[in-house]
Symmetry: C2
Subunit: 344 residues, 2 copies
């Protein structure tokens, strides 16, 4: 059920099988699988994650390519709730390992916040990432285009950028190298650094050799209308016409609540095994938070894998269920078939 | 585009980037990713695979839990075609490694068959499995219930069997062990061997200790109506009432066309790396055909992984695309923005 400040008290004496941090594609898929494995779970969702911002989910089997990411999330949340999952809008502040259980402290509500602590045997970290965006004075101007034709994921949207005049927005020399992958889709690339860092002579030469202009002046604003970005105005008033853009400025990883735990990291990503288990035997990591490619389809499969690993372990530790007649639900008289009644 | 005997001739001189054997969840997901990576692919689909038979796809994020498997396949096929994938109804007879390319021989049409040979740089084996079903004189009687409440996948449908009186249909002593996993969902299990094999004394005792009846008489027919199986009639006319059933009789693996290639197998499954690459560097395997759990979500992610690995390799081998002005598409005059026109 949906939990809120008003009704969450009922759950504070309960030990969930699993608390899932993050209600994106991975977390919701895990919740669906766990509930179907007859395990109990609580999804804690802070809201507005990366898939929430996707205007078109163009590469996920089964949904039309114009499906917004939030439709996937709404459907998944309804699906998980229908199977008995608990769902709470809140922000996980910390996860403490108590030996057999985890204590998960959640901030609920932006004002008059409550700080309930929930307990579970396992934790699934599915809190994902969010992309850094160019920082302009008027951020609404950035949000008007981000997720539309100002993209953040080349695998997701390279196809939409094909052979278009594309701005590549970066905040480090390393990220300029994105240009030399992006050029699989389009070679009409202008690199914008906003003057945030010094570009090496070697990189300048490489860009020149490829014919990719380098623009170092800060950006005043994106130009366009109806969420269609058509160029960039620089602080000197000059305009660079564009047809699309890719932001490659790194991401913020929502992993602060894990910092107290002894986990193996690869950069900002958690290292996991083939079932998404981290180096902590009761902690799993999914999707963008773990090492691998950041795709909805991958996160959804990760949810299935982690849930299956937890189910297997829980099942193997449980006593076998015997057929004990006194416990058996009564088989309705009318449902007992007779051969004469059979229709096939 | 959709290929058929009439128009496939156009494609016989073409070398596809990838030929995908199987148009199920994994194959279609791969096709969508490959086309979005601007690689060319042909999907060869024999029809009526495992997901085609699923009446309800209950655990796939984004789709209502009553979505039939064939809806997913229809949507995916339309999606892949819209991106320019080729799709052919046919049966892959053989795959021959020619060094840089594979020659893929397809049987098209059940009568007056054609046997075209297509070529590609990579092959993705996504041809899946199909479950063995109890063999009765009237197979239509089995098809009336299989995929409804006579299930073939415990992970998919264990939830629907919970605490119900369940028939477990097996064809080997090893498969009887399924009962001791199934009892996580329900302990009201009757095991049906149809007398196909001798059950050991040890297994008889184990079943007795759990309270699970063992029925060795051959089955005459399933009873029920409107695709709802309500029991089994044995050849002696006796009736065993049931509320649901699980068939655990193994599967047929559609991998005959791979037998000539030197590949690493684990039983009937292909061994793959984390990107679904087999021991052959240009051959990938997805979903049920590879080692792992057999789930739509996994196959869909596998398609994304294999396509990404193939794209990376192809891209790295390609010359870099430079911004050459004489090749650039003309930017429409009207689309060049002026600061004064900007709306945000």
């Amino acid at each position: 059920m949906k939990l809120s400040k008003k009704n969450l008290g009922d759950r504070l004496n309960h030990v969930y099988d699993v608390i899932i941090v993050g209600g994106g594609a991975g977390g919701l898929s895990a919740a669906i699988y766990l509930q179907r494995y007859r395990l109990s779970c609580l999804v804690v969702e802070k809201g507005k994650g990366r898939s929430f911002w996707m205007q078109d989910l163009r590469n996920y089997l089964g949904l039309p390519p114009t499906t917004p990411g939030r439709d996937l999330l709404n459907q998944g949340q309804e699906h998980a709730l229908s199977l008995g999952a608990d769902h709470l809008r809140g922000y996980v502040e910390s996860v403490e390992d108590e030996g057999d259980t985890f204590a998960v402290k959640v901030k609920v509500g932006k004002t008059d916040s409550a700080y309930p602590v929930f307990r579970s045997r396992y934790v699934i970290a599915a809190s994902g990432i969010i992309d850094h965006l160019p920082h302009l004075e008027n951020m609404q101007n950035v949000y008007d285009y981000a997720g539309y034709n100002l993209h953040v994921c080349m695998i997701c949207d390279g196809y939409e950028m094909a052979d278009k005049r594309c701005g590549l927005f970066v905040n480090s020399e390393g990220n300029i190298n994105t240009a030399f992958v992006l050029n699989w889709f389009t070679p009409y690339i202008t690199v914008f650094t906003q003057g945030l860092f010094e570009v090496s002579l070697e990189m300048r030469k490489k860009l020149r050799d490829h014919g990719y202009p380098l623009v170092e002046l800060p950006i005043k604003r994106f130009l366009g209308q109806d969420n269609e970005m058509t160029g960039v105005e620089l602080i000197d008033g000059s305009v660079v016409p564009l047809e699309t853009g890719l932001v490659a400025m790194g991401s913020h990883y929502f992993n602060e609540y894990l910092q107290g735990l002894p986990l193996e990291w690869k950069g900002n990503n958690l290292v996991t095994d083939s079932m998404c288990r981290t180096s902590h035997p009761r902690l799993f990591a999914l999707g963008d938070l773990k090492d691998g490619i950041n795709q909805v389809a991958i996160a959804v499969a990760d949810g299935a894998l982690a849930a299956t690993a937890i189910w297997r372990e829980t099942r193997r530790a449980a006593p076998p269920r015997l057929w004990e007649e006194h416990l058996e639900p009564h088989l309705a008289e009318s449902s007992v078939p007779q051969p004469a009644e059979a229709t096939s």
